[in-house]
């Protein structure tokens, strides 16, 4: 009897151990950022101190330094601005394209959709060398506009793919009804399909925006001045003076950047995953 109870309870306990173990390991760096942000340098640099505890009173010095004496606020603004423009370009190009490929072009539209999605798999590390030439040809080297122009090459394919799935799930009857009710095909798209797809479009907005904060290779390659950088490159490459790491401020910057993006992305995660798993989950 006791053994039976044990075998019944054991998987549950194991599950919890697994969950806690992974949560601790995966979230640990963020916890560590939090602790470091508020610790005094003398506390951080004393090897005798227990690094898990506040051995001296917490401080806001690192945050003050970050916002008053570094380019961090500038990078945040750059990132927001680039994010906004990338989102606009993505929506203007991907939403109509996805609708056309999902609805107006039949079988070969689906093929073209897969083709566009495949370009998402071509990595920056294959394209950055020729693209740097293209960027300098366009006169955009060391400008925020270089990445604004290039990032839609990620966001358009994935967004088109996501939205194609979304548009296909809208019953065809609705669009037919709108046509009979007196709209043109374009009118049905603007007045019926887009209002019905708000959540899909919002997903694309979040995806495009978070991508701008996450991308590293292109921004590192095309932008050389600290003042034009985004957060993702500025913090790890320009917040270090010579060989000196201001760990407190660095970790503060990491924390401030990660958590909002993490939170936003988390809200729409299930839809992103749908984009990757089309065909495999049935």
């Amino acid at each position: 009897m006791a053994r039976r109870r044990l075998t019944r309870v054991l998987p549950g306990i194991m599950m919890w151990l697994v969950r806690i173990f992974f949560a601790v390991v995966l979230a640990f760096p963020f916890y560590w950022m939090l602790i470091t942000t508020f610790k005094r340098n003398t506390d951080l640099n004393n090897l005798k101190n227990n690094p898990f505890l506040f051995n001296e009173s917490p401080t806001l010095d690192h945050l003050k330094l970050l916002f008053n004496e570094t380019l961090f606020p500038r990078w945040v603004m750059n990132t927001m601005f680039a994010g906004l423009i990338v989102v606009i370009i993505t929506l203007v190009l991907a939403v109509p394209a996805a609708y056309a490929l999902a609805r107006l072009t039949g079988q070969w539209g689906a093929q073209l959709g897969i083709g566009i999605f495949l370009t998402y798999l071509i990595p920056p590390t294959l394209l950055f060398i020729p693209l740097s030439k293209v960027i300098s040809f366009l006169g955009l080297q060391d400008s925020l506009w270089s990445i604004i122009i290039v990032y839609p090459t990620f966001t358009i394919p994935f967004s088109t793919w996501l939205l194609m799935g979304f548009f296909k799930s809208i019953p065809r009857d609705l669009e037919d009804a709108a046509l009979v009710d007196g709209l043109t095909q374009w009118g049905a798209f603007v007045k019926l399909v887009i209002p019905m797809s708000v959540s899909g479009i919002l997903t694309v907005v979040i995806f495009a925006f978070t991508l701008v904060t996450q991308e590293f290779v292109y921004a590192l390659t095309f932008i050389s001045s600290a003042a034009h950088q985004t957060v993702g490159v500025g913090v790890p490459t320009f917040l270090i003076r010579g060989d000196v790491y201001y760990w407190g401020s660095l970790m503060a910057a990491c924390l401030i950047t990660s958590l909002p993006i993490g939170f936003l992305y988390n809200l729409f995660l299930d839809r992103f995953i749908e984009g990757f798993t089309v065909g495999a989950v049935k």
């Binding site: 009857d173 037919d176 709108a178 046509l179 009979v180 009710d181 709209l183």
Partner: protein
């Protein structure tokens, strides 16, 4: 002038495949309720969608009000359509659904309000104006779809199986209501269904379709009593017409005309068959008797008889009886074309 006319209309979806709609010639009459009836895959919905302008014909012409409309978009055809799923716009309230066609045409706001109230009052749904489609019952959804269809007073009404999403109980009353409604507004309607009961009950005329072609057009009584071929004969009626293939003719008669001994003698001109009853089914108001023809040119062919339960004759399972059909109730079909022939006698 016909409201809708099709001339040699064809639709082929994939090159090389058989047509979904084959050489359909159709003429509707002013104000009539025309039913397109056929099994799934018979091309009836494709035909309707071509009339609506949602599918492009491969060849042939479609005329609405005497004008060729092949090149017109759905919006230019000034028609209204009710879809099988009702296709209510899920993000819009009932009121906004109903005024949607008016808005699309640029009707002024005050006029929209007036017309929406008129349409809603015809269907008794004014109290639902603020609801969203997902908050409505099946019957309410159907009414909203109808209101949206009539709100701009179209020349023509197209309905694609609008009752098939309702449960059986609701369907009978909705059928009745829809029929009354069409008579009241007097707009020509084309109604697609696979349900023969709907077709018979509602249609002024019924177009029976199979494999893309029109098999017969006529009043419900025409297509039931005088089927043009064996397909129509067996598609209509439940149980379907008994079809007895013989050497050089196919003979058909309805189960309710296949009469037991005692009744047959009073018929006058009639044909008698030996009927080996295998089993009977008691259905309350009537009895169905299943069995085989015994002897003669049709020996061994399956047949069904349907007799009122009030007819109190003992017809036990396994017994051999003599049944009869009045000569006027026997239909003769050509074994090659399966169409009706002028022959009026059976081989012995």
């Amino acid at each position: 002038m016909a409201v809708v006319e099709t001339r040699k209309l064809n639709k082929v979806f994939k090159r090389g495949n058989v047509g979904a709609v084959v050489n359909v010639d159709l003429q509707s009459r002013e104000g009539e309720f025309l039913v397109l009836l056929g099994p799934s895959g018979s091309g009836k919905t494709t035909l309707l969608r071509m009339i609506a302008g949602l599918e492009e014909p491969t060849s042939g012409e479609i005329l609405i009000g005497g004008k060729v409309v092949n090149d017109l978009t759905p919006r230019e055809r000034e028609i209204a359509m009710v879809f099988q799923s009702y296709a209510l716009y899920p993000h819009l309230s009932v009121f906004k659904n109903i005024v949607f066609p008016l808005k699309a045409q640029g009707v002024a706001k005050a006029q929209r309000q007036k017309q929406a109230e008129w349409a809603a009052s015809l269907l008794g749904i004014q109290h639902l104006f603020e609801r969203k489609p997902r908050e409505l019952s099946g019957g309410e959804r159907q009414r909203v779809a109808l209101a949206r269809a009539i709100v701009r007073e179209p020349k023509l009404f197209l309905l694609d199986e609008p009752l098939s999403n309702l449960d059986a109980k609701l369907r009978a009353s909705a059928r009745e209501e829809l029929e009354q409604f069409q008579k009241r507004i007097g707009t020509t309607a084309i109604y697609v269904t696979h349900d023969q009961v709907e077709a018979m009950a509602m249609g002024d005329r019924v177009v029976v379709m199979s494999q893309g072609s029109v098999r017969q057009i006529g009043t419900p009584a025409d297509v039931y009593d005088e089927p043009a071929d064996t397909f129509v004969a067996t598609f209509l009626g439940s149980p379907p017409m008994n079809i007895l293939p013989g050497e050089d003719v196919i003979v058909g008669f309805r189960p309710e005309h296949f009469l037991p001994p005692g009744v047959a003698e009073r018929l006058g001109d009639h044909i008698s068959f030996g009927f080996q009853i295998s089993h009977g089914e008691y259905l309350g108001a009537e009895r169905l008797l299943y069995g085989k023809i015994a002897g003669g040119a049709f020996d061994g062919r399956k047949a069904v008889s349907r007799i009122p339960a009030t007819h109190a004759v003992s017809l036990p399972d396994g017994s051999l009886q003599t049944f009869a059909v009045a000569l006027s109730d026997v239909k003769f079909f050509d074994p090659g074309t399966e169409k009706r022939t002028s022959r009026r006698s059976i081989p012995v």
